[in-house]
């Protein structure tokens, strides 16, 4: 049923109709209503999907000092996910564990995330990568490019923050290189993307999949030109969308933006995630779904505008439930959005 490596995942139950939705809402606030659930081992619906959920934690941007507020925030996120009434089958971490790409920061993040009760898949963000070009990250978290199948859904993870070498010729130190990659609009490195190799991987990976396959793709940066000025973009997103164009529907989930946001382009739905470090403001762009903006964060509340997210996958679609630490969801977001 799944080739996701796992050591002790709970047996998963399927849901039906309103009972299912209520349960999803309940798990969104971490409460188990104890509804009677119909056990089912069969797949349902035309996509051959057996309902389940997974969670996303992202962008912890850990600093080096001990007991930093971002450490505490990430611990809260782990506890929040562990306490979900409906336990996710796995967690995906969509990048930027470390703030400066330092080994101690990445190791600290891995230690905190190891307290999750379920398996975790990782993709890198630019803050993880450019101090040592992913050496420590790959050692801790494995491949940056992957795919697996789970209960009828095809999951793909890519490294979307790659740029051409700008550091060798200029003789930059690793710290300078990391600093350059933190700059808005990336004036020196240029816009980042997944690169030719990963596009080839993607092409081969989805070549044999039928069009009605449920596909979920994870990248650190959004797969649309949300706001290139703040690096809210992936330069080869059009090529990615091209390769995925054959599918009836693709769900693209990303980090990097530190905010709730939803958009749909063609067959690809795109949703951003809450960070556990700090909230970003919304850029000056007209959103197709302006209701997907959360309320402006209260600077006096150190937890506002941050949290985790849980996605329930079912035959008729995926429901994304944002789970902020403080109440900042708009009516549009409160009961989850179909992605």
């Amino acid at each position: 049923m799944s080739d996701l490596k796992d050591s002790g995942r709970r047996q998963f139950l399927s849901f039906a109709g309103h009972a299912g939705l209520a349960s999803v809402a309940a798990s969104a606030i971490g409460v188990n209503l104890g509804l009677v659930e119909i056990a089912s081992g069969q797949s349902s619906g035309k996509r051959g999907v057996t309902p389940f959920s997974f969670a996303i934690i992202t962008d912890s941007h850990l600093f080096s000092p001990e007991n930093h507020r971002f450490d505490r925030s990430l611990i809260d996120a782990v506890n929040q996910v562990n306490a979900l009434g409906r336990q996710p089958d796995f967690v995906v971490y969509t990048g930027d564990i470390a703030q400066n790409g330092r080994e101690d920061q990445l190791v600290k993040g891995q230690k905190i995330l190891s307290k999750l009760k379920m398996p975790v898949k990782y993709i890198p963000g630019e803050h993880d990568w450019y101090l040592d070009l992913g050496t420590v990250w790959k050692g801790l978290f494995g491949k940056e490019t992957w795919s697996f199948d789970h209960k009828g859904v095809h999951f793909i993870g890519l490294n979307s923050i790659l740029v051409k070498d700008f550091w060798t010729g200029t003789g930059m130190t690793p710290v300078q290189r990391m600093g350059v990659m933190e700059m808005l609009e990336s004036p020196i490195a240029g816009p980042w993307g997944v690169g030719a190799e990963q596009l080839d991987f993607l092409r081969r990976d989805v070549a044999k999949l039928p069009p009605d396959t449920a596909v979920v793709i994870f990248t650190h940066s959004p797969l649309w030109d949300y706001y290139p000025r703040w690096n809210f973009q992936t330069s080869d997103a059009p090529q990615i969308r091209d390769i995925l164009a054959k599918f009836d529907h693709v769900t693209a989930l990303h980090g990097h933006v530190h905010q709730t946001v939803y958009n749909k382009i063609g067959n690809l739905s795109s949703a951003g995630s809450l960070s556990t470090s700090w909230p970003w403001p919304y850029p000056p762009v007209q959103l197709a779904y302006p209701g997907s903006q959360m309320n402006q964060s209260d600077p006096a509340n150190t937890k506002d505008g941050m949290g985790t997210q849980s996605i329930t996958v079912a035959a008729d679609g995926d429901l994304l439930s944002y789970q902020p630490f403080a109440d900042s969801l708009t009516p549009f977001l409160k009961n989850g959005i179909n992605v």
Binding site: F63, V180, P284, P299
Partner: protein
């Protein structure tokens, strides 16, 4: 009484001319008071003044992005939550600020942020650093409608690509 002569004093021409010019000049002064108040700035003076402003904005940009270590102990700089001075809304100050429980100018809000999310030491409100920070925030929001007390969130003003505030890399924001 037909032959009464009224003595007409002929005013000499120069006097008439002088009186006329005085009248005209007086009228001119009344109409164009500013140029009468002080001489206008020359183009090069204006350029120099603008350069001084941009130098302050430049300093403010560095401070906004963490160039002064005493402004932060958490690693957060203004630029984390307020990239391109977004969501800082300088044009809505002075206004009642819940964090301070009073009507406050922008500089007080900046100091509050330095102390709280950033865990740093507040700046002297009359210091050049504070002027620089305000210069940056206002400059990046130039053209915004002034609305003291506006409580609804406004959008950040668009920064045209590459123009926002061009800056050579400085390594600011990376801890050594």
């Amino acid at each position: 009484m037909n032959n009464t002569h009224v003595k007409v004093t002929r005013i000499p021409a120069p006097v008439v001319a002088l009186a006329a010019s005085a009248a005209i000049l007086g009228l001119a002064f009344l109409v164009s008071r500013p140029s009468w108040a002080r001489p206008p700035f020359t183009d090069s003076q204006l350029a120099d003044q603008q350069q001084q402003l941009l130098a302050e904005v430049d300093k403010g940009r560095d401070l906004w992005h963490g160039s002064k270590p005493s402004m932060s102990s958490t690693g957060l700089a203004c630029g984390n939550c307020h990239p391109d001075a977004a969501a800082s809304n300088p044009q809505t100050f002075p206004k009642y600020v819940t964090e301070l429980d009073r009507v406050a100018p922008l500089r007080d809000m900046i100091n509050w942020c330095i102390e709280h999310p950033q865990g740093g030491t507040q700046l002297d409100v009359n210091s050049e650093d504070m002027v620089a920070l305000e210069a940056y925030a206002f400059y990046l929001n130039r053209g915004a409608k002034i609305e003291p007390g506006l409580a609804v969130p406004t959008g950040p003003y668009p920064v045209k690509s590459g123009v926002g505030f061009p800056k050579k890399p400085s390594g600011i924001g990376v801890d050594q």
